[in-house]
């Protein structure tokens, strides 16, 4: 029995179950659901801007609750949106560092691909760059994280995590059949400052730094 593979599997399953706790469903009045991730125990949820095109938003938690959500900010340019739900003690994800993410590093993407709850896919980082041949350019020369993972409708807004289960990106789209694109977490941090302002961010500082 190859013990390294067994150990690796246990580690991967732990990353998945840890990340799964912070994974949410984001629904509007349209059919289908996108994904989102809990950033703060008191109800801050991050998702992709393209996931929330409707008005009546609900966030589905892993414990089965579905809560109405308020939009704190929505940036189509960054393809990020920040939601607020009335809840406490939610399992927030730990933020990682996308700037030191090296090509070849192991990452996992969670979401609800084709409506399958908690669907997980894994791959390696292809690169973190503003200029990728098949990727659409982002506003303001912002970077993408390109990964060899198959993102599907329903993965959008969900977490891309590193080997330790830390958030490194937000699943956004595919570029061609085999390259997944995610918004880097560094961009998320900047976005949080923009939306919440430094004062509020400090109050919720535990998650930022």
């Amino acid at each position: 029995m190859p013990s390294l593979l067994t150990d690796l599997n246990e580690a991967l399953a732990n990353v998945v179950s840890g990340t799964m706790a912070s994974l949410v469903q984001v629904r509007d009045e349209r059919a289908g659901a996108g994904a989102g991730v809990i950033l703060h125990p008191q109800g801050l949820v991050l998702t992709s801007a393209h996931v929330i095109q409707g008005r009546q938003l609900h966030v589905g938690l892993q414990d089965g609750r579905s809560l109405p959500a308020k939009v704190l900010g929505r940036s189509p340019g960054r393809d990020l949106a920040l939601l607020d739900v009335e809840a406490g003690d939610l399992p927030a994800i730990e933020l990682g560092d996308s700037q030191s993410l090296a090509p070849g590093a192991w990452v996992m993407a969670l979401g609800h691909p084709w409506g399958v709850p908690g669907g997980t896919t894994a791959g390696v980082v292809i690169g973190v760059d503003a200029h990728l041949p098949e990727a659409p350019p982002r506003a303001g020369e912002l970077s993408w994280i390109a990964v060899s993972a198959h993102l599907r409708p329903g993965h959008s807004g969900g977490p891309l995590v590193d080997h330790a289960g830390r958030l490194v990106g937000i699943n956004t789209m595919m570029a061609g059949p085999n390259v997944g694109l995610a918004v880097p977490v560094e961009d998320v941090k900047g976005y949080l400052h923009d939306v919440l302002g430094s004062r509020i961010v400090e109050r919720r500082e535990s998650m930022i730094v």
């Binding site: 029995m1 190859p2 390294l4 593979l5 067994t6 690796l8 599997n9 991967l12 399953a13 732990n14 990353v15 998945v16 179950s17 799964m20 996992m108 691909p113 084709w114 399958v116 709850p117 908690g118 669907g119 997980t120 896919t121 894994a122 993972a149 198959h150 599907r152 085999n178």
Partner: protein, 297 residues
């Protein structure tokens, strides 16, 4: 660090190598050959139904390129499984494992033999769930989805766990665009049926039905909100012989609640030719009858 990667690569290659003798190429359609896996019984090969398009002149090719003639034992389009028997030959049976041996996030390897040599791709278990029904009505014991890339001809191949055992048979045809694996338990059940009967026997009642809301009192008493209203009853069917009538609302079959059409389909699945106790609502009264089920052609 590189030691770990070397070890990892060698471990992965060892998993594929262990399964290699049991993975075969199947030529039973034009152009792209497909894959198959040696079952526990001698000379029995599991394949994907959609890749077996001819019933005569089926060829099975082993690891060394040797060719055997094979006959089709039977097929079950509803689960996309087919069972072949080598006319004169034996294969090394694969080691089969239940889906309970893996979790979401675990590494898995999909192997196939669309060409002469074995091919493998790496992925993780994406999602697992309870039993489900395929679009064609087949019952599958566990929902098992992976993110492995299914190359052409990979259907009918094996999904391998890191313990070198086969978790199930891969198919890309059941649900488009999704890599699904039929778990060993489903393969075992369907294969046993096909070996015994040459087909999947499914129970037949001879009705069409639709879900209907139950009156409040009955709903509370029975603990179910809906039953199945009979919209038509075939003449001379098991339903008629058992005394069921148009307008009856079926409530349960052998104490399995019938809330949706799916419930009836799955209750009938394993009961071909057997007697079943059916309770129903007629004229505001709960009645029950013993019905001898037929077999669906």
């Amino acid at each position: 660090m590189s030691d770990v990667l070397t070890q990892l690569s060698e471990n992965m290659a060892a998993v594929v190598q262990a399964a290699e003798p049991s993975i075969v190429r199947i030529e039973a359609r034009r152009r792209i050959p497909a894959s198959g896996v040696a079952w526990k019984d001698k000379g029995i090969v599991i394949a994907a139904h959609h890749t077996v398009q001819q019933e005569e002149g089926i060829g099975v090719f082993g690891p060394g390129g040797e060719r055997w003639d094979a006959e089709l034992v039977g097929r079950d389009p509803s689960t996309d499984l087919a069972v072949l028997r080598l006319k004169d030959g034996e294969l090394t049976p694969a080691e089969w494992a239940e889906a309970e041996s893996v979790k979401v996030g675990h590494l898995v390897l999909a192997v196939g033999r669309p060409g002469r040599s074995l091919q493998a791709t790496l992925g993780v278990i994406s999602a697992m769930g309870d039993s489900w029904r395929t679009p064609m009505g087949g019952r599958v014991e566990r929902y098992l989805q992976t993110d492995v890339v299914m190359y052409p001809g990979f259907s009918g191949g094996a999904l391998l766990g890191v313990d070198k055992r086969v978790i199930g048979i891969n198919t890309s045809a059941l649900v488009r665009g999704v890599s699904l694996t039929l778990p060993t338990s489903t393969v075992a059940r369907v294969t046993a049926d096909l070996l015994e009967h040459g087909r999947i026997r499914r129970g037949y009642l001879g009705v069409s039905a639709q879900p209907a809301r139950l009156p409040k009192d009955h709903a509370q008493l029975l603990g179910q909100e809906t039953g199945l209203l009979l919209a038509s009853v075939e003449p001379e069917s098991p339903a008629v012989a058992g005394g069921l009538m148009l307008g009856d609302t079926l409530l349960s079959l052998d104490e399995l609640p019938l809330r949706h059409l799916d419930d009836l389909l799955s209750a009938l699945a394993d009961r071909a030719g057997r007697k079943a106790e059916i309770t129903f609502l007629r004229g505001g009264e709960v009645q029950s009858r013993e019905v001898t089920l037929g077999e669906r052609a």
